[in-house]
Symmetry: none
Subunit: 208 residues, 4 copies
Amino acid sequence: MQRKLTEEQQKHIIDVATKEFGEKGLDGANINIIAKQSDVSVGVIYKYYSNKEELFSACLSKSLSHLGETLQEAVSDAVDFETTMSYLISAAIAFSKNHKNEIRMYHWITTVSDEKAKEYATEIEATSSKLYKELISKAKSDGLVHGDMDPGVFAFFFDNLLMMLHFSYGCDYYNQRFRIYMGEDVEEKDDYVRKQLVSFLKRGLDMR
Amino acid sequence: MQRKLTEEQQKHIIDVATKEFGEKGLDGANINIIAKQSDVSVGVIYKYYSNKEELFSACLSKSLSHLGETLQEAVSDAVDFETTMSYLISAAIAFSKNHKNEIRMYHWITTVSDEKAKEYATEIEATSSKLYKELISKAKSDGLVHGDMDPGVFAFFFDNLLMMLHFSYGCDYYNQRFRIYMGEDVEEKDDYVRKQLVSFLKRGLDMR
Amino acid sequence: MQRKLTEEQQKHIIDVATKEFGEKGLDGANINIIAKQSDVSVGVIYKYYSNKEELFSACLSKSLSHLGETLQEAVSDAVDFETTMSYLISAAIAFSKNHKNEIRMYHWITTVSDEKAKEYATEIEATSSKLYKELISKAKSDGLVHGDMDPGVFAFFFDNLLMMLHFSYGCDYYNQRFRIYMGEDVEEKDDYVRKQLVSFLKRGLDMR
Amino acid sequence: MQRKLTEEQQKHIIDVATKEFGEKGLDGANINIIAKQSDVSVGVIYKYYSNKEELFSACLSKSLSHLGETLQEAVSDAVDFETTMSYLISAAIAFSKNHKNEIRMYHWITTVSDEKAKEYATEIEATSSKLYKELISKAKSDGLVHGDMDPGVFAFFFDNLLMMLHFSYGCDYYNQRFRIYMGEDVEEKDDYVRKQLVSFLKRGLDMR
DNA sequence: AATGAATGAGGTTTCATTCAT
DNA sequence: TATGAATGAAACCTCATTCAT
């Protein structure tokens, strides 16, 4: 027995749980397995998280924060609208390849229903939607994009493509589908994918 | 008791099960609830489907066939590439609004892992990917689209946007996100959404 | 549909049920399987037998009557005590080899408990025990057997050996054990087995 | 709740299970009843035994070891062939009277079929068959038994009689049959039974 | 404070029996 | 009268959660 879980151990629990939840979802995951693989007792997990769902939530929050920060960084590094898109895509690809389980957590919340869906969506999508809309509005007022384009709509299309890119690298089904569309060697063509997407978006926005 | 489940009752079971599975997934769904809501006994469900997973599969197949046929029709009705895209989008919107649970079934398979993911993806995505690639290749050889555009890549982007549209109408989380991006009245703006998407795609393809 | 089960069909049901019960016992057997393999409906089985146990009972009765008659015949054909034993043994071997499932039915009743055990034992063992005791008593009063031998006790030993012989030919476990004791080719040594048993019994009785 | 099942409790589960399985067999026994009667939860039984069959196996192993040891002791205590037989019979009677449920477990394996029968028989009967054959062979080479007697055959007859003795004391059906042959007061005549059996065997072997 | 074995509600599945046709 | 699909009680087993140590 031990006095208190170290920072490290707590992080380890989250990592292991993220893997288990990422692979099997809330219903399919098994708390006892998470405990065993984390080298802690079930009891201690229930000291930190009052039930399975809360542990899931904690994993989700951590995953989303991590993803959010990564994309945020990409945005801050960029100098103009085009590089913003480009950096976001690069960041999305890199993150999804290296943190599959975190992407999978993100994916699992897309399965929730009713009120929960509302809560999660509001919490998770509000920031990025606002950011993307602003970026596009600015680009538009700078005369960079086509006059007909509704910023909200384009933001939606853009985030759709980004989200699908995340899932295509992180989730097995989407990854397989990715290969069907783009060839088995797709994971070695990150740059090509990014370039194609950027030029598609640029043309879609009628940027010059 | 009844002599035999009528065609109607059998369909009803599938409908009820599609709803239950659509909302809760394979793990979260409860066969007893499905039985009760279908007004049949558990036993009879196990006469028709040898286990929970097979019932899930049956619901999935039915949903995917229905969706597939609907999109197929849309394609056959179209006369050129632009109307093809337009019809597909219209069909996707209409289907997703009217058959939420079937779209949700489709969504659940995106959560599977490993071998299962491979099987499902191959089975489900192969046809449409082939169709889209061919359509675009033809448009390209007709000189209708930008020379840089890789047909496979565009097919992928196009299907991504279509898939997200499906989920945006059919799944609660995606729907909520849809509203965040495009306003609470989004479901009354189907035409606007279609037009915006078509023109975005056209520009993205550099079509004139 | 058909007017009434023919004699043949009824017999067929019993044969199939005897096989199923013989292999799996009352608890392990499945009425629906019996119905299917008998080419009749479950319903008709429940017309003839009010429940699973009654069908089992019917199979048992038939098996035991058949066995009883066979042994009875053997006894009637015999002229003296030694040939009686010899004929009984021959009959037991032949019957068990040719009617495994009926022997298995007999074996299953040895698993019952409490009152049921009392009923069955009284019903089944009373006749043969009486017969064997009388035969031995007569042999004893004829001065053929050892004075110390209690006829009831010998009858018991004799029937024990006969019963084990039945099971050794009819039941898988006992058959395997039989082979362990007497070699893999035991089923080709029926005569040897009979002779050895007869001479063992004769010496055991101190017959000359 | 308790920190961990005590040795005693674990033994108690086996005892209760041995009783339940002994009376009803693998198919007829009910894990929930075993749990209730053992004063533990179902869950804990499944912690110790991964399924019903494994619990059955554990009961069987324990029963057979116990029986085996008891008979082994009897053999080691004996000084010559006659006392060996006598001790074995005494031990069998005593054991079967005091450990009915363990004898019943032994009896249940005689109901298995096919491959399982082969496995069990080989595992269980090999040792004793070898022992008995050796004892008799030795007695024969010492000139103590009749020249015609095949040691393997006699070992088989001897074990048959011993096995039936076990079942006659331990299993309800056999016990009832025992009473039919030897009188209702048979359980007070252990010594008489043993003596009769020994002298029958001795004469059967033609021992002097 | 951590442990981890025990708990037992709840879910899946089977199959003896029923009864509408 | 026979049919055989439907019924639903009951059994096995799992795993989120508890709590004695």
